[in-house]
């Protein structure tokens, strides 16, 4: 236990330089963005004087190193700054949008795992057969399409043509009221409030965008599951288990699958951060009020604070995600933390 927690602590310490790196890079990157936020902010019909005035009030007239110090100082006080384009504190904005993105991403991943993992196991138990090839082709096809294209096609077919899916208007149709905010996850909040109708409403809205993202993530998960299962099934301990007369279910799930889970969990982590990035496009298509669409808008108008806040939030999420992966690793694998690294 001590070993595990010290390994986890070590991971947290390692995250610090990463966060510093992210802060520096995001600062530099935003300053390199084209467009003058002062002009943008001063609005239509602005005079040179009013632009200068805005520049001063945004603190953009100061030299870059000084701006950086101010930014870092604010950060240390937990102040992410004000979004120039929405006029709201970046932290508020993120707090309201992050759950939307996370809910979408997590639903997509769960959906994807529900399909890809059994598919990978199936393929691994029948390597080289037509079932294996079919799985390979299916999941590869899923990852071959740009997500925004898949999204629009799904809307076209299931909403426009067939009318099965609800209108792609974000997280909840306007006939429902948002559930009382506790976690920000509509499914959870509605469940807590016991509001079944809203829960179904939120679920319906999730189906298409989550499917779009899930299609995109099937391939890496299925691929990794198959590879991990293949090597686990070929391992000596599986042979020992079979020779000891253990049943096929126990051998496949109790022995092979649990071992195969390790690389799959790592892949899941990678896929998760990848999908959070890919969200940007899907959120746009489905009018999803998430953090991705916010980032795009902010980037387009050179909204420094918003972009930096977004990147930092994502980096923190990434760090937390890695900690979670380590944690699940340490739960699955007793060897965790014994070898260096």
């Amino acid at each position: 236990m001590a070993r595990r927690s010290s390994a986890t602590l070590n991971r947290i310490l390692q995250a610090i330089p990463v966060l510093i790196g992210v802060v520096v890079i995001s600062f530099i990157l935003t300053r390199a963005l084209p467009g003058d936020p002062a002009v943008q902010f001063a609005g239509a019909a602005a005079t040179p004087e009013s632009i200068e005035e805005v520049r001063r009030s945004l603190g953009l007239d100061k030299p870059l190193p000084e701006q950086f110090l101010i930014y870092v100082g604010d950060l240390l006080q937990g102040d992410l700054g004000q979004s120039v384009s929405t006029g709201r504190p970046v932290a508020t904005e993120l707090a309201s949008r992050l759950p939307a993105s996370l809910e979408l991403t997590l639903s997509a991943l769960i959906l994807s795992c529900l399909i890809a993992v059994p598919l990978g196991v199936l393929a691994a138990t029948r390597p080289g057969t037509w079932i294996d090839q079919l799985c390979r082709i299916l999941v590869t096809a899923g990852v071959s399409l740009p997500t925004f294209f898949t999204g629009i096609v799904l809307i076209y077919v299931f909403y426009y043509l067939l009318g099965i899916a609800p209108s792609p208007l974000g997280r909840l149709d306007f006939i429902y009221l948002d559930p009382p905010r506790i976690t920000g996850f509509f499914l959870i909040d509605a469940a807590i409030a016991g509001d079944l109708e809203t829960w179904f409403g939120a679920l319906k809205q999730l189906v298409l965008p989550a499917t779009t993202l899930a299609l995109f993530t099937l391939a890496p998960i299925a691929r990794m599951t198959r590879a991990a299962m293949l090597s686990a099934l070929a391992a000596d301990y599986v042979r020992t288990a079979r020779a000891a007369g253990l049943g096929p279910g126990m051998v496949l799930y109790g022995y092979a699958f649990r071992n195969a889970l390790l690389p799959v969990v790592t892949t899941l982590g990678m896929v998760f951060s990848f999908v959070l990035g890919a969200n940007v496009l899907v959120e746009k298509v489905f009018a999803w009020p998430g953090i991705g669409s916010y980032a795009v808008e902010a980037l387009v108008v050179s909204d420094y604070a918003a972009v930096q806040g977004f990147v930092l939030a994502m980096a923190l999420l990434f760090v937390i995600l890695n900690l979670l992966i380590d944690l699940s690793y340490s739960l699955i694998d007793p060897r965790f933390g014994t070898s260096s690294k």
Binding site: L33, P34, G35, D36, P37, V39, Q40, F41, A42, G43, A44, A45, A46, T47, P48, S50, I51, E53, V54, V84, S85, T86, G87, R88, E93, S96, R97, I152, I155, Y156, Y159, Y160, G163, S167, P168, L169, G170, F174, I175, K284, V285, F286, A287, P289, S293, Y294, E297, V300, V301, S302
Partner: protein, 505 residues
């Protein structure tokens, strides 16, 4: 559900306070729907049966009546005695004064717009008594009254606002940014930044006939394909500002209003600082080389009004007007041959990524056509964030597309912004002495002044001959409605939800 109506737009509202620095265009709708002005424009029915604002008619909103002194320098408003704010308090002249003071003091766009009507200083406004409000002008101007009907001079509940004002923020911009305090037809029931704004009817509204719909939800849907699907399937009643193409195609399925936007033109800008464009023959050659019809068909899908192939003689002062040029490659070649650049030249053709939907096809067609003249263009897509700076502030783009429109619907107003040297929308760095004087003279001159028409005609003549801006077409604002009615077009290009009604299908 007939007391609820859903509209979708592409734009994002970023503030509920028009006066705040940084407030974007989409947010003006809050000033319209949730606040009142003293006066508003009347409406008229256009030839196609759609309803539009009428620049020539001014109607009361908060003001019951108004009188103009003989010298034209004092305007006295009588406020409606029954006008109340949402909190039930009476709308007083004091509120109007505070609001107008705010508009001229906060700087930026609101102050600039007020200035167009000759309103620049707080001491021009006086609350005589509770219901009498006086505006004093430095010189008479035909723009003053109309300028009070644009969204900017809206009336705020000054008592509420002052409660939230601080020393740093005397105009309570932080508070009003998220919490409107008005007397308008619709209260803001909720605002989810980046998602939706929900309006709820204010039943004691005194500004006009009580709206029919109790709740109106304006949702932001960025993907045009999604918006199209929504309106076609009737899940939303209004789709505001739809692409020209959708407008052209949806017209068969749902009701579509395409109103040419008043005082607005899509033009090709020829920057005078770019050497070849100083040669009039080059400019005219380009004007003849542009495939107007193709552009109008492919970029605008025939929506809006053509601005080419007009007559040489100028009979009236209506604006925008058709230019005398049309697509004629022979003429273009002759003109270029006669210029100092018979073999053509190279020039970047700049467009904005944000406006790519019309600029890109237009640019491609122009590029191809100019290529035939030997003028080689490379299309330069400038990020939206950079566009304003490059085209309007720095005015550094040699060949570009531009789309200025003036709120106040007079030609002189357009010329002031787009043809007078140094002004923001004169992206061509154009300067012509005669235009300079003519614009200054006509800007505040009454339109029925006998001197007005000849001067305006002369301005048209010069502009069409000098061609710093080659008109392409007058764009349309397209709105699709499904199971709703009452849409009215406004110069400010925002959705006025007050007139909307549900129609059971």
């Amino acid at each position: 559900a007939s007391d609820t109506l859903v509209a979708v737009t592409v734009q994002t509202i970023n503030s509920l306070d028009l006066h705040r620095t940084g407030t974007n265009r989409a947010s003006y709708q809050v000033a319209i729907n949730s606040y009142d002005r003293l006066i508003t424009f009347g409406s008229k029915t256009l030839e196609d049966g759609s309803v539009s604002f009428d620049y020539s008619k001014l109607e009361p909103e908060l003001a019951e009546s108004w009188t103009i002194s003989d010298d034209g320098l004092t305007i006295t408003f009588k406020l409606k005695p029954n006008a109340v704010f949402w909190d039930g308090s009476k709308v007083t002249a004091e509120d109007v004064k505070w609001s107008f003071d705010r508009a001229v003091s906060v700087g930026g766009f609101p102050s600039t717009q007020m200035k167009a009507g000759g309103l620049v200083r707080p001491d021009q406004f006086e609350a005589v008594d509770e219901e009498t409000f006086v505006v004093k002008l430095d010189k008479p101007s035909k723009l003053s009254l109309p300028d009070l009907a644009v969204p900017v001079p809206f009336v705020i509940n000054s008592k509420v606002a002052k409660e939230h004002a601080t020393a740093d923020d005397p105009w309570a911009t932080e508070y009003l940014h998220t919490t409107p305090a008005g007397s308008g037809a619709y209260k803001v029931a909720r605002w989810d930044s980046g998602q939706q704004i929900v309006y709820e009817r204010f039943d004691e509204w005194a500004g006009g006939p009580l709206p029919k719909v109790r709740r109106i939800i304006v949702r932001e849907v960025p993907s045009p394909a999604t918006r199209r699907a929504l309106i076609e399937r009737g899940d939303v009643q209004v789709s505001f500002d739809i692409p020209d193409k959708d407008a052209a195609e949806l017209a068969e399925k749902v009701k579509v209003y395409s109103t040419p936007i008043a005082n607005t033109m899509h033009v090709v800008g020829l920057n005078y600082t770019f050497e070849p464009f100083q040669d009039p023959n080059v400019r005219k050659a380009i004007a003849y080389a542009i495939p107007y019809k193709d552009i109008f068909d492919t970029a605008a899908y025939g929506r809006g009004a053509p601005l080419w192939g007009g007559s040489e003689t100028i009979e009236d002062t209506s604006w925008p007007r058709k230019s005398p040029y049309s697509h004629d490659m022979e003429k273009a070649k002759e003109l270029l041959a006669a210029s100092a650049y018979p073999d053509g030249f190279e020039v970047p053709l700049s467009i904005s990524t944000d406006l790519a939907s019309w600029m890109e096809p237009t640019a491609l067609l122009i590029q191809e056509s100019l290529g035939k003249l030997g003028i080689k263009t490379e299309i330069e897509k400038i990020p939206g964030a950079n566009w304003r700076t490059a085209v309007l502030v720095e005015k550094r783009l040699p060949l570009h597309l531009e789309n200025f429109g003036g709120w106040l619907d007079t030609p002189d107003y357009y010329f002031f912004w787009a043809y007078q040297e140094g002004n923001l929308f004169n992206s061509s760095n154009y300067r012509n002495e005669e235009i300079e004087t003519l614009t200054s003279e006509t800007l505040h001159m009454a339109q029925d002044d006998p001197e007005y028409a000849p001067k305006i005609k002369r301005m048209f003549e010069i502009a069409m001959d000098d061609l710093p801006r080659i008109p392409l077409y007058q764009p349309a604002l397209n709105v699709a409605v499904n199971s709703a009615d009452g849409y009215e077009f406004w110069f400010h290009r925002q959705l006025d939800v007050r007139s909307l009604t549900n129609v059971e299908s």
